[in-house]
């Protein structure tokens, strides 16, 4: 099966297929034989090149958190994004999805549904831990799909609103 993940600035296409004794992982022209033993719903032992590694994972909204050797790696599932038509990248196909920079309370929304918005306009303010963060439009467009109002709690994964580029 094919997978595509974005980690930091890199995007990687891989395939992972069952083999006689586990799996074969292919990246480009390289192949690695793996086997895995499940520990619990979030943990398994992955064995490759004669070495066992305990790995912990958690999946949420198109992201996979992977804990390996004391470090956490955040994978963004590119194929799942394409399937759902969205992306966590800020501007895709002329649409900016405005996300909270941190989980917090929406203090103010400065635009209304259908407003014309110029690039650089302040569109909303999110407050967390007594700090206010002003979020700006990154393109000229129309404000749409405003899903929250002042006072609502927002997380970093659900768009507050969208700016759709003018035709």
């Amino acid at each position: 099966m094919n997978y595509e993940y974005r980690i930091a600035d890199g995007t990687y296409s891989i395939s992972l297929d069952k083999s006689e004794n586990g799996y074969n992982l292919s990246i480009g022209d390289k192949t690695l034989a793996l086997s895995a033993i499940k520990i619990d719903d979030n943990s398994f032992i992955l064995r490759a090149n004669g070495i066992n590694k305990v790995i912990h994972v958690a999946r949420t909204n198109g992201r996979v958190f992977v804990h390996l050797d004391g470090a956490i790696h955040v994978l963004e599932d590119v194929l799942a994004e394409e399937a759902s038509g969205g992306s966590s990248a800020e501007i895709v196909d002329g649409v900016q999805r405005i996300l909270a920079p941190m989980p917090g309370k929406l203090v103010k929304v400065m635009v209304s549904e259908g407003d014309k918005v110029a690039k650089g306009t302040n569109v909303c303010i999110v407050e967390a831990m007594k700090m206010e963060n002003v979020v700006q439009a990154k393109l000229d467009g129309i404000a749409r799909n405003i899903s929250f109002k002042a006072g609502d709690l927002v997380d970093t994964e659900t768009p507050i609103l969208e700016i759709i580029a003018e035709e």
Binding site: I7, G28, A36, S43, A48, H67, H73, L75, L153
Partner: protein
């Protein structure tokens, strides 16, 4: 009196410290009740306590800081004492007084000793009277630049100008020489005025690159007072401690004994009767100066417990019930070394912005000498309303280096998925050459960690990380213990050879 004990205790706090106090209550067989806000209905302290009372909306002013609601909850549930933890109402002398008025025992010191120590000017004057060294400088604020100049000559440059109403570095100026004094004073007054609405400024000697050394102290209501040695808390990020240890490598037995004696003097001078902490600055010549006294159980109390072998929270409860201290000074020894790391929900790679969300998976480390004081669990929500501390990791070892290695191993096995923490940052602090060699001064973080960057995914780990991502979707669906076809006990067959360093 020694056998008198509370029938039930209310804990007026949340998070890891509330859980710590519940733990102590369970150990000595006292039922515990917690209060909680609407944001905390599934918080760990609520799940762990014997009873819980919701006292209001998430905002602290309407819940954890609402004195009348807390006291009413204690009365309603038949508690006869309140433990305030740290933060929130812990150092509020009016709260301590209201508990008393309501017939409840406040597990802490008297309202008067909390009040005096909460007032910086009064506390300083009391310490001068008691013969405890304080940072040399003005006794009160002034306006006339001539007064500042003569005081600066007396204590010697460099000097520090400080806003009387201050905090957080606002209205503070370091002055190296007399020529700069007048301009710096004007600047400090202007800044103090705009930050606090009060342009009062005073002057004290500037202690260059000090260490932050504090002494754990304990008094009881029978006039006994002891110290339980020091904790070094020099590793601070914007005045917030993140790593603490004991003993401090900077103290000789002579300085330790002298500081301990001074700390006990502080306890006696205010008739202090509970656990408290006396904070000092230690300069590079071994001079120490009283900073302030914290009249509460301290976040970093577990490292003292690990090295001295006492339970400070249990002792607080017993002393509040009227017992004599269960140890005297001669009973107390430091054995081995302990380090604490505070785990915060914040993003070290992004200016330490607070993080929140769901802890999708949690696995806490364990092993010889490891203790975790935690306020979270797998599935817990970390909200934006409160201090972002999630837990504390404590490592004890026979030596500093043994404790440090245990800490590093434990940090690498501490798994928090879903909410960003600074565990990787802590690992780099503990691995830093200057930390290893014990050169821990209060400027450690700005000096050595300013250009810290999160390590990316290495070429070696990349294939495993990608494979883990691909396999992650099958984990919850797959009930068999082994993935793939290999159901036999020997699934370990390697086909072909993986080459390290594949290009991207």
């Amino acid at each position: 009196m020694a056998d008198a004990m509370f029938n039930k205790i209310l804990i007026a706090n949340r998070g890891e410290i509330a859980c710590r106090i519940i733990h102590a209550c369970k150990e000595i067989g006292i039922p515990s009740v917690v209060v909680y806000s609407e944001a905390d209905s599934k918080a760990l302290h609520v799940l762990n306590a014997d009873d819980a009372v919701c006292i209001g909306p998430p905002e602290p002013m309407q819940s954890y800081l609402a004195i009348d609601k807390v006291i009413a909850a204690a009365k309603e549930t038949g508690c006869c004492a309140i433990h305030p933890g740290y933060g929130f109402l812990a150092e509020n002398h009016q709260f301590a007084q209201k508990c008393k008025d309501a017939g409840l025992v406040f597990i802490g010191s008297s309202p008067e000793s909390i009040r005096v120590m909460g007032n910086k000017v009064e506390a300083r004057q009391m310490m001068i009277a008691a013969g405890v060294p304080v940072i040399p400088g003005m006794q009160a604020s002034a306006k006339d630049v001539k007064l500042f100049a003569s005081e600066a000559d007396k204590v010697g440059y460099p000097v520090l100008l400080k806003a009387a109403a201050g905090g957080g570095g606002k209205g503070m100026r370091v002055v190296e020489k007399q020529d700069d004094l007048a301009a710096a004073l004007e600047g400090a007054q202007r800044e103090a005025k705009s930050a606090f609405g009060d342009d009062s400024v005073y002057l004290e000697k500037y202690i260059e690159n000090p260490r932050h050394i504090e002494f754990q102290v304990f008094g009881d209501s029978h006039g006994n007072a002891v110290h339980l040695f020091e904790r070094e808390c020099s590793i601070q990020r914007r005045h917030q401690k993140i790593v603490e240890e004991t003993p401090s490598v900077a103290l000789t037995p002579e300085i330790r004994a002298a500081m301990g004696k001074a700390a006990v003097k502080v306890v006696k001078s205010c008739d202090y009767s509970s656990a408290g902490t006396v904070e000092f600055l230690l300069d590079k010549n071994g001079n120490y100066y009283f900073l302030e006294m914290n009249t509460r159980i301290q976040v970093e109390h577990p490292i003292t417990e690990a090295v001295v072998g006492v339970d400070l929270v249990v002792e607080q409860i017993k002393v509040a019930a009227g017992a004599h201290l269960s140890f005297n000074q001669d009973d107390l020894r430091q054995v081995g070394h302990a380090i604490e790391c505070r785990v915060y929900a914040e993003d070290a790679a992004n200016n330490f912005l607070p993080a929140a969300g769901t802890v999708h998976y949690l696995k806490e480390p364990s092993g010889p000498g490891i203790r975790v004081d935690s306020g979270i669990y797998s599935g817990a929500e970390v909200s934006v309303y409160y201090d972002p501390i999630l837990s504390k990791l404590i490592a004890w070892g026979p030596t500093r280096e043994a404790a440090r290695k245990r800490m590093l191993k434990a940090l690498s096995e501490y798994v928090v998925l879903g909410v960003t923490t600074q565990i990787d940052y802590l690992r780099d602090v503990l691995s830093h050459k200057e930390f290893i060699e014990g050169r821990t001064y209060t400027n450690f973080i700005p000096t050595h960690m300013a250009d810290w960057k999160q390590r990316g995914t290495s070429d070696d780990s990349l294939p495993l990380v990608l494979a883990a991502g691909a396999l992650s979707g099958q984990l919850s669906r797959n009930t068999a213990s082994v993935f793939g076809e290999a159901a036999q006990p020997t699934p370990w067959e390697t086909v072909g050879k993986w080459e390290i360093g594949m290009g991207s």
